[in-house]
């Protein structure tokens, strides 16, 4: 057990640094009271100290600091590191071993010809294919999922028996890990899986269909499985949106003699619009990052994230300039997503007005 512990943490010196921090806290803060008291006092010594030295001015920054540190190092720095990688070349991840490359990586990723050999560049095709296929995926997946999430939310917002139970059932797939989702559906969709065999049993098809191999089917099932796995989440948000619509509006509309159809499209949908917008943007972003489920399912197309994964050599074989090319690709995608989210802010700002 203990060795497993040790192995899991390897010989990282982070815990040690943390220990030092706590010991200083123990000395500085001299905790007393209940255990909880003591722990929190020991943890918070820098803030207490800062307040007694400098008043409450710097405190908000101190409260933000740990979170921002982690954000900074693991979310923002990577963005800039990517920039760094995209302008240097070589296989090493150490910057000192990576010579400046100008726009070479951009060439490698997007150029018509190979800058190293002058031959035709294939990388741009791959990247382009990944983007196109992801695009196709997104174009089908997002509207379909939003549509079904909406329908499900509308149904679940009705006065039905055991509403809570239904709600949890539809939400359940969200709890499953992408790996499990992938395995689950592979089990069903593989060539000799239940689906093919059952359909054959029923005589609907003559021979098993390669659900995950056949290019059209694989896209269909990618969309299906991804929708399956995430629908519950968006359904829930929409449900919250629906419930935020005041009930007396419906009563007023009822008094106004509104037909059910008009109720949906003149009252419910317009009022749900802001939520729908949020849901659409969130699911767009999610769909653009689709990777884990698809990876676990071994679908036969490459999404942008798996393109980055593969090109970078994080999975699969490292190649000489892979890191730089992948970093360049991810910058392009990140830029695109940023535009998307700005668009959302603008749009939702407008609808709020």
């Amino acid at each position: 057990m203990w060795t497993a512990f040790e192995a899991a943490f390897a010989d990282s010196n982070w815990p040690f640094a943390f220990l030092v921090y706590l010991i200083i806290g123990l000395v500085v803060a001299r905790p007393k009271g209940s255990l909880g008291n003591r722990i929190m006092t020991v943890i918070g010594w820098p803030i207490e100290l800062a307040q007694s030295l400098a008043g409450s001015g710097p405190l908000p920054y101190l409260f933000l600091l740990p979170n921002l540190l982690v954000f900074g190092v693991f979310t923002f720095a990577p963005l800039f590191i990517n920039v760094g990688f995209s302008f240097t070349e070589g296989q090493s991840i150490l910057f000192e071993d990576r010579p400046y490359a100008g726009d070479n990586n951009w060439q490698r990723l997007l150029g018509e010809t190979q800058i190293d050999t002058g031959a035709e560049n294939r990388e741009d095709d791959k990247f382009y294919t990944a983007i196109m296929q992801t695009g196709v995926f997104v174009i089908f997946q997002v509207p379909i999922m939003v549509f079904f999430a909406l329908i499900t939310a509308l149904v679940l917002n009705r006065d039905i028996v055991a509403r809570g139970l239904w709600r949890s059932i539809f939400f359940y797939p969200v709890m499953l890990s992408p790996v499990v989702v992938g395995f689950l559906w592979t089990l069903i969709l593989k060539r000799q899986g239940v689906l093919s065999l059952t359909l054959m049993e029923w005589g609907w098809i003559d021979e098993p269909i390669q659900w995950l191999v056949d290019p059209t089917w694989t896209m269909f099932w990618s969309v299906f499985v991804f929708t399956w796995a995430h629908l519950g989440f968006y359904m829930l948000i929409l449900l919250a949106g629906l419930q935020a619509i005041p009930g007396d509006l419906y009563e007023a509309a009822e008094m106004d003699g509104t037909s059910d159809w008009r109720m949906l499209h003149r009252i419910t949908l317009p009022l749900l619009m802001p939520t729908l917008l949020v849901v659409t943007v969130l699911s767009l972003i999610k769909a653009f990052q689709a990777f884990e489920e698809l990876y676990a399912m071994q679908v036969s197309w490459i999404s942008v994230v798996s393109y980055i994964f593969e090109t970078a050599g994080l999975r699969g074989q490292p190649t000489t300039h892979g890191l730089g090319v992948a970093a360049t690709a991810s910058l392009i995608i990140a830029g695109f997503l940023a535009i998307l989210s700005i668009l959302q802010i603008v749009l939702s700002g407008r609808s709020a007005r």
């Binding site: 991840i93 021979e207 191999v213 071994q298 490459i302 593969e310």
Partner: protein, 399 residues
């Protein structure tokens, strides 16, 4: 000193080495810490590790030539004459390209060779005779097609999705892969010939769709499940599967057969195998070298081969034979078949041997499956695919 040893295994190799290492520890007082990982880690991650400082001291690797730049030259630490005498045939695999390198870099734990397994029960049930040794791929394809049709199978032949399995037959069709100067000449007539045949096998349904076409990029796909579950009559795999198959197949009779030959008469099979190497970055070079030398001794090599049921690279042992103990006769037979294949390939397709030591072979491995798959699925025409292979390899090698 403490040596960290990164190991992957197909069967029980790591355990056997760890067992043998106890003798080494007792003898020298060094300590060997075995870190067992999946093959993918060794294949994909080790190089990353070597670039950072997270690398092990010793590892069992398969990309023998590719990692040459990181190897520790053992010459100063080991009995070079002994190594040359017993392992001379494989030592060049570890060396840098160009033929000037004379270093000794590792101990070949085992030789592997690609080759097919057949489901004899199926042949029996279909009433089709197994083609004799020396039969061509054409003969096999015909026989398999007959089995497939008679028994109503989905496919006859499955091949792991990797260029390594693919290369053997390609050599037998006369593909060269690279010229004497070490430059790739990937797509030549032989290569094209086999690629056409191979794509044809898919179009005719001889090979299953869940094999090559189901993968993308360089992804490896193991075809063993297809064979195990009785969906195909032949599995183009390699000698490392013997142990697994002998343990796991209970409901049909299987047999390893010698590599089929090509139209040119060459009977290509990709030799290969794994080796223990030490890395320059090691803090304990001496201990690491000593460990490798210890393992390379005849008695340890023999024990290793017997325990792992693998083909030894030790020349002396090859000649005298290894006592595989109470191994059942079917396993012994398979071992002998594959051992024979190695010899046969060395004779009729020597390129295969050199290719194994070719430092850029991983580049080629990375490119072939991707484009051939595209040709199979119809995403690209075969001509385009072959052109793309050439271009890509050229590009990658240029880097």
């Amino acid at each position: 000193d403490e040596i960290t040893f990164l190991c992957y295994q197909n069967g029980n190799e790591c355990e056997v080495i760890a067992d043998l290492a106890k003798g080494f520890e007792a003898e020298t007082g060094h300590k060997v810490i075995t870190e067992q990982v999946g093959y993918e880690v060794v294949r994909d991650q080790l190089e990353n590790q070597l670039q950072t400082d997270a690398a092990p001291d010793v590892a069992r690797v398969t990309n023998l030539g590719g990692l040459n730049q990181y190897y520790l030259d053992l010459t100063p630490y080991v009995d070079a004459d002994y190594m040359e005498a017993q392992y001379g045939a494989v030592l060049p695999w570890y060396r840098a390209a160009g033929g000037e390198d004379t270093g000794i870099y590792g101990w070949q734990t085992d030789l592997t060779v690609t080759g097919p397994y057949v489901n004899v029960t199926m042949f029996d049930d279909a009433g089709v005779d197994l083609p004799e040794a020396g039969a061509t791929w054409g003969d096999w394809a015909a026989a398999l097609a007959e089995v497939k049709d008679t028994l109503g199978l989905n496919a006859g032949l499955a091949m792991d999705r990797t260029a390594h399995r693919w290369a053997g037959p390609a050599f037998s069709y006369g593909a060269k892969f690279f010229d004497d100067a070490g430059n790739p000449i990937l797509v030549d007539d032989g290569f094209r010939d086999f690629a056409e045949t191979f794509v044809g096998w898919h179009t005719s349904g001889l090979m299953p769709v869940e094999g090559w076409p189901a993968g993308s990029g360089t992804a490896y796909r193991n075809a063993a499940p297809l064979f195990l579950s009785g969906e195909v009559a032949m599995h183009m795999s390699g000698s490392w599967m013997i142990g697994n198959y002998s343990d796991n197949i209970t409901d049909f009779e299987w047999r390893a057969v010698t590599a089929p030959c090509g139209p040119s008469g060459a009977c290509g099979a990709m030799p290969g195998g794994a080796g223990l190497v030490a890395f320059e970055s090691s803090d304990a070079p001496e201990a690491s070298a000593a460990f490798i030398a210890y393992m390379a001794r005849e008695e340890n090599a023999a024990a290793y081969a017997a325990a792992t049921k693998s083909i030894t690279a030790h020349a002396g042992l090859q000649a005298a034979g290894v006592d595989y103990g109470d191994t059942n006769p079917a396993v012994s037979q398979a071992l002998s078949t594959f051992a024979a294949s190695i010899g046969q390939a060395a004779e009729s397709a020597p390129q295969a041997f050199q290719f194994q030591g070719y430092s850029k072979n991983f580049v080629i491995y990375g490119v072939v499956p991707d484009y051939i798959t595209k040709a199979i699925t119809g995403e690209m025409s075969l001509d385009d695919a072959l052109a793309a292979i050439d271009a890509d390899v050229a590009a990658k090698i240029a880097e």
